[in-house]
């Protein structure tokens, strides 16, 4: 799989590459229970609300969430059609939406940054998906 991010860059690198309107998307860790080894699990979340990207976005389509009840209905519907045993399998996309490409025109407003405690400087990265 091709790389989904590029960097680290400095602020002046980004100014040179994307101009003065590049936008930084902060991120935070969302606690998601505990892993099997007992350690707390965190998922990194890009905060497009904090960066105001969401204010500039518009959705024309309502996304219907196919959650637990939907799968239960799917199994019941399948069971009505067959007398054979049924099974359920799952597939998970590697790195989730990092595989869904970001339009080239949007890369400059989705730069993410982390603080490097060793250099005491921010590090900026381009995100491509």
């Amino acid at each position: 799989m091709a790389r989904t991010m590029a960097g680290p860059y400095t602020v002046s690198d980004m100014l040179g590459k994307h101009g003065k309107f590049f936008n930084v998307v902060p991120s935070f860790g969302l606690q998601q229970g505990h892993a099997a080894d007992g350690f707390i699990k965190y998922r990194r979340i890009d905060d497009h609300t904090a960066s105001h990207n969401n204010l500039a976005a518009n959705s024309k389509q309502k996304i219907v969430m196919a959650m637990v009840d939907y799968l239960a209905a799917l199994i019941k519907a399948a069971a009505r059609k067959t007398e054979f045993k049924l099974k359920v399998g799952t597939e998970d996309m590697k790195n989730a939406y990092r595989q869904i490409p970001l339009a080239d025109s949007q890369v400059s407003i989705s730069i993410t940054a982390i603080y490097n405690p060793l250099t005491r400087e921010p590090e900026l990265y381009e995100i491509f998906g």
């Binding site: 196919a66 399948a78 009505r80 054979f84 359920v88 399998g89 799952t90 998970d92």
Partner: protein, 328 residues
């Protein structure tokens, strides 16, 4: 194969004999589209599968046409760890309380009926005030109760072909001060295989005194009729499909939600769903016009219509009131 997804989690239902080739074709299709899959998270088709934190058990599907749904074991463990850490700290920030409510609500959705939701009231109240340390005793009790419930609650059962004829249940209540010591009465009527049964219970002052002080207790009385009916006819209702008709909007909405903002009402709703889960009663709650509610009579000590219809009176069972399981 039937397939759908929740964001990046794909799940599919497949017949046993085609499961291997279907999985192969699905993975090749992802590959053709250029998407990589996470082999560590993928599950090959199985009769017991964990999807979105929920365990789907299809082992009884072909023989009994029953699908069992229950929380994933690690979710139950994680909830216990979170509760233990809150109890140990004897403090809980609002964000922690809101997160816990969300996690518990999700677990409840995979448990039988609405059991457990009534015990979330103190946590909802906690969110309206300032975070406290030490935690108030009723919040501590709620947290402990949540932990117990997710361990003991029964899985949700889904019937593929529900051939059961539903039993009809009507409940009602009245509060007439002029009746003196018979002021508060609840009534219920059950219609099963064209047999009509009815009951009524004159609510004593000692029960009323358990509830929050107010001018009228109609809301609580309307609710009390509901667990009383389940307790009275639990033998007939066991594993049955029930259409439960209530003529009070607030009571019906509370039963459907599984909790009420009022603590006394929530305790009664808790008893209702505990009885439903204990006896595995599948209940659908709906509103009936007051004039069409056949249990209006017994809730007013008027048995004329039911006697004309050759109804049989059943003594009310009130043992659940002694247990008072959800009074937190």
């Amino acid at each position: 194969m039937a397939i759908d997804h929740f964001f990046d989690d794909f799940y599919y239902v497949v017949r046993d004999q085609e499961s291997s080739v279907t999985t192969f074709c699905l993975r090749e299709a992802f590959k053709l589209l250029g998407f990589a899959l996470d082999a560590d998270k993928s599950q090959v088709p199985a009769e017991v599968a964990e999807v979105l934190g929920v365990c789907f058990n299809m082992q009884s599907l072909s023989s009994q046409k029953i699908l069992m749904i229950q929380p994933r074991a690690t979710r139950v463990v994680n909830l216990g760890v979170i509760i233990d850490s809150i109890l140990q700290a004897d403090a809980m920030p609002h964000a922690g309380a809101a997160s816990l409510l969300g996690k518990f609500g999700f677990l409840c959705s995979t448990m039988f009926g609405k059991v457990g939701r009534s015990c979330t009231g103190p946590l909802r109240d906690y969110l309206k005030g300032e975070p406290a340390s030490p935690l108030p005793p009723h919040v501590v009790m709620t947290l402990k109760l949540m932990k117990i419930l997710v361990h003991v609650a029964k899985p949700r059962k889904c019937f593929v072909h529900d051939t059961r004829s539903p039993i009809l249940l009507y409940t009602d209540a009245s509060d007439v001060p002029e009746r003196g010591c018979n002021r508060w009465i609840v009534g219920a009527v059950l219609i099963h295989n064209e047999n009509l049964r009815y009951t009524h219970y004159i609510v004593p002052q000692t029960i009323i005194d358990r509830w929050l002080p107010k001018e009228t207790h109609m809301g609580q009385l309307e609710l009390l009729a509901c667990p009383l009916a389940l307790a009275t006819w639990h033998d007939l209702l066991r594993s049955a499909a029930v259409l439960h008709f209530v003529d009070n909007d607030s009571a019906a909405a509370g039963l459907v939600r599984g909790f009420s903002p009022k603590r006394d009402s929530s305790a009664i709703i808790g008893d209702y769903w505990i009885l439903a889960a204990t006896h595995e009663i599948d209940i659908y709650i709906d509103r009936v016009e007051s004039k069409s509610n056949i249990s209006d009579g017994p809730s007013r000590l008027d048995f004329t219509l039911l006697e004309t219809l050759k109804g049989h009176w059943t003594p009310p069972r009130i043992d659940f009131l002694a247990a008072n399981s959800f009074s937190v």
